[in-house]
Symmetry: C4
């Protein structure tokens, strides 16, 4: 019987990681293409350039927000894959779905930068980040339940911590969709608080 994928569960998870890092690096760097140089007549540059640079401030906010969001995705992806020794098809497919969300993020970011005071872009952005987080948690969950994918069995307490953290953060992003029905700005403030809180929690755990 043919079992070509038998050997695919070897130790070459490196190419998956490399491809993922390529997608992370490009998505994070393409974000800046959405910040455009204003087009002003030569005589008005001196007087109008400061205003023309400040008025699209939601685009700068979107740049920082998505940069931090993708950085957080990368950090989690990194801490998941550093324990993974091999992979199976499920892991491969879940990772591609996750990368599809990461590569898609520049679009919701651009939408938010253009129409951030409206509800729909806020909903789309929150849903994209929540979906990315759920897929990462699914990758984590799948890898932890299959010991042969890991270099050593995981501590169940650590497993539970990451699982709860992933689901909680996805849930808060989904909750922000409800909040956006009342105020789009409040939902955005909520994301910033969330990303900041998560970064601080991880920082303190390491000290």
């Amino acid at each position: 019987m043919l079992r070509p994928t038998q050997s695919e569960t070897g130790k070459d998870r490196d190419r998956i990681v490399n491809l993922s890092d390529g997608v992370f690096a490009i998505a994070i760097t393409l974000l800046v293409l959405d910040i455009r140089v204003p087009n002003l007549p030569e005589n008005d540059v001196a007087s109008q350039l400061p205003g023309a640079l400040l008025s699209p401030w939601p685009k700068y906010l979107g740049y920082i927000l998505s940069f931090v969001g993708i950085s957080a995705f990368w950090t989690i992806h990194h801490s998941i894959f550093r324990h993974i020794r091999s992979y199976d098809r499920t892991l491969l497919y879940l990772n591609f779905l996750f990368l599809m969300v990461v590569a898609f993020l520049p679009f919701p970011t651009a939408l938010l930068g253009e129409y951030g005071d409206h509800q729909l872009p806020v909903v789309i952005y929150a849903a994209t980040l929540a979906l990315g987080r759920l897929l990462l948690t699914a990758i984590h969950w799948h890898s932890m339940r299959n010991d042969r994918l890991l270099d050593e069995p995981q501590d169940p307490a650590v497993m539970r911590f990451y699982l709860i953290r992933g689901l909680t953060i996805a849930a808060i992003f989904l909750l922000s969709i409800v909040i956006s029905f009342f105020s789009a700005s409040l939902a955005i403030v909520m994301w910033c608080a969330l990303l900041l809180a998560d970064a601080i929690v991880l920082y303190r755990r390491s000290h």
Copy 2:
């Protein structure tokens, strides 16, 4: 006599793989640049944004289709190169031709997203995917026929399975060109079914 390429058949196939992964990662991430933020007057955003986001749905479909198509290319490329230990000029040239097709794919995707209800973009898209599949199969075929390129001789049954699979899928893409003369949509549905079926077959083989 000079034989500078003698030593090139060493074990440094890694840079070819890295370059290929770079092209895969970039092509897969550039796809999103084709989904543009609609340009609406401020007063009409609330009422028209939902429609303006939904109407270019062929672009979203094209994004997903090409993402899955490139992912499938990557997965096959990965399973071919994991057995390759060294390379010769033929392998190098075939791989560059294949990368040229991968890097070109964002254009047929954009064409399909804009004019997907017409026949010509469907033909160009199907021909691009078929050509990519044929080049991958040629890379596979060439590497399997030259034992010195592989780390160990391949099982002839596995060889035959992959060869038939590659040619079959390329043939189905070419067949969809014939079908596009009757219905462009039917050809697109056919690709989706094909990519799904192939993913399922590979998934089940690994269990």
Copy 3:
């Protein structure tokens, strides 16, 4: 007690380096997208193309300047990370902040290429390069003060040389902001002289 990050201070700093190199490579290559092909009516191409290619010379200058600036960032990043064996959260966050500056650089470059004879773009560009340099120096400072991050303790004299060099160069970029109040061109000439002087100093130290 849970200490998942304990093991994160292992030897896998490689993915941070790979992600950083991806961002460097993309930022450096996106710069060219800002140099646009002029749009001329067919009859005027022969007579007007030379002028249309020469008139946006500040864009070529910006391309070279930012290419050299990012190359200098890469060279310093490289010489810092070659001594780093592991990482902690602080290093990770500082590196992401630094990458955010690198990935942002194409925007100030485009602004400078369009309005380089005005003061504001010069200020923004100088501030971006100074910030990047300060973050690199902070990464260096942090890694040198934590012996467990390094593969071997650093010579204090070397530490002091790099620290002073980083702060001096950042200070000169900030000084150029003051100079830009008198002359935007003089500030730009100052950057070129600075990057050249730094390259020569490093070159001579290695001989």
Copy 4:
């Protein structure tokens, strides 16, 4: 005395190669962004799309030409660096200059695709390729003259072959500038013949 660069001549040339591969992969993939989807009114798509896709054929030619040109650069860069064990500042600076030319190539390509029947774009394109080839030959020459950069001394006959080949090809590109004064098309045909001949020569040497 401080000699921080002493240790930089260690074996970590890998990051230079990785950065270079990133630039190669991105430059090669950005080329497709220059091929634009035509903008046609819905009623005229069926009748005008074939013509609108065929008329910018110089862009397709430019895509293939630059793809082959960058592939050739990569192949030579690869065969140079596979013998390099460490690096010095000269090698680093030469490599950055070379990467600046590679990253710049999408612009001459776009120019050629738009105004390929005029002389100036042909001159700029030929000069860019010749400059890239000269820089590669300089990298090769420098590395071969410094035995400590190589893992083993090179055969002088091989050295001479590559040096002559590099200079000859650069000279032929410069010669095509002279020819472009008589016919732009003839110069382009000359490049195609040259790239093809070089690929065949290398192919035959390896058999």
